[in-house]
Symmetry: C3
Subunit: 121 residues, 3 copies
Amino acid sequence: MNITAQVELCLRDSGMSEGLVLANAMNITSSVFINDDESGLLHDYEQWLEAIAPHEPVSQYRHNDTGEENADAHMKRQIMGREVVIAVTDGKLDLGTWEQIFYAEFDGNRRKHVLVKIIGE
Amino acid sequence: MNITAQVELCLRDSGMSEGLVLANAMNITSSVFINDDESGLLHDYEQWLEAIAPHEPVSQYRHNDTGEENADAHMKRQIMGREVVIAVTDGKLDLGTWEQIFYAEFDGNRRKHVLVKIIGE
Amino acid sequence: MNITAQVELCLRDSGMSEGLVLANAMNITSSVFINDDESGLLHDYEQWLEAIAPHEPVSQYRHNDTGEENADAHMKRQIMGREVVIAVTDGKLDLGTWEQIFYAEFDGNRRKHVLVKIIGE
């Protein structure tokens, strides 16, 4: 899910012109990351993460003995990261040409929750 | 090793109420990361990292030709990350419900060393 | 490619003595990361990343149906990370003994582009 427009809105509301924006997932089974908004690539990430940290069999993870079935989601989130920090220059997110900000949830049952914090002047 | 309380103490000492906290490992074979304080999960991370970057055979890594045996620890630290950046709101770490800050050392022989830097007002 | 000296130069030019430095790749197939400047280790990272996200066969990635052949580079960059945030103390990068800042490009055909943003006082 591309959240670039929402982060830009937060920045506009803040009125900051120079500083840093922190955007982080507040769930420990989800990630905020920056990459390309290309549907094939987003599909590739899913496949690739599933190969590195398979959901099944759920019994392979001790965490799942607690009654959860989301240990793999905790792994996937570490690969993709919790947060991004983005420079603000002249009141705009200082992003490269193809940089877009994404939120990804690896455990389908959670509510999405992103924190955006802006510091500067 | 859960270091949330120590980071909170640093924040209290700083007297900051709005800003950002950076917490990073100062050793290149260790990580500061945010996830769940559940013993099964922490065990799963160890197993999973060992599968992705096995310690043995040590000869598979050119870095170990230097006399070190910790190349795998350098890999594991990249997966788990070097640092976290956390928002400070109303004088408190702005963490999600289950977010806890951990320090992990992947090369048993190192002294633990974390840097906490707080900026804001 | 070790970019520590360039980041130090940016810091010196800024005249900041206390704060944070953000250094991030502006290409989505490259990384800025902190680790050891040891040639064997840098070689090991390449081998290891190639095992986790193989370039060949290019047809295994849907992203490559767009005419690109760099889907694997997008994966490798997520493992190694987009950015680092470094504390500034007494006008210097507050780095651990062996911490060096690197830029790595996983898709050979791109121009290198790093953003360095410094905030503080």
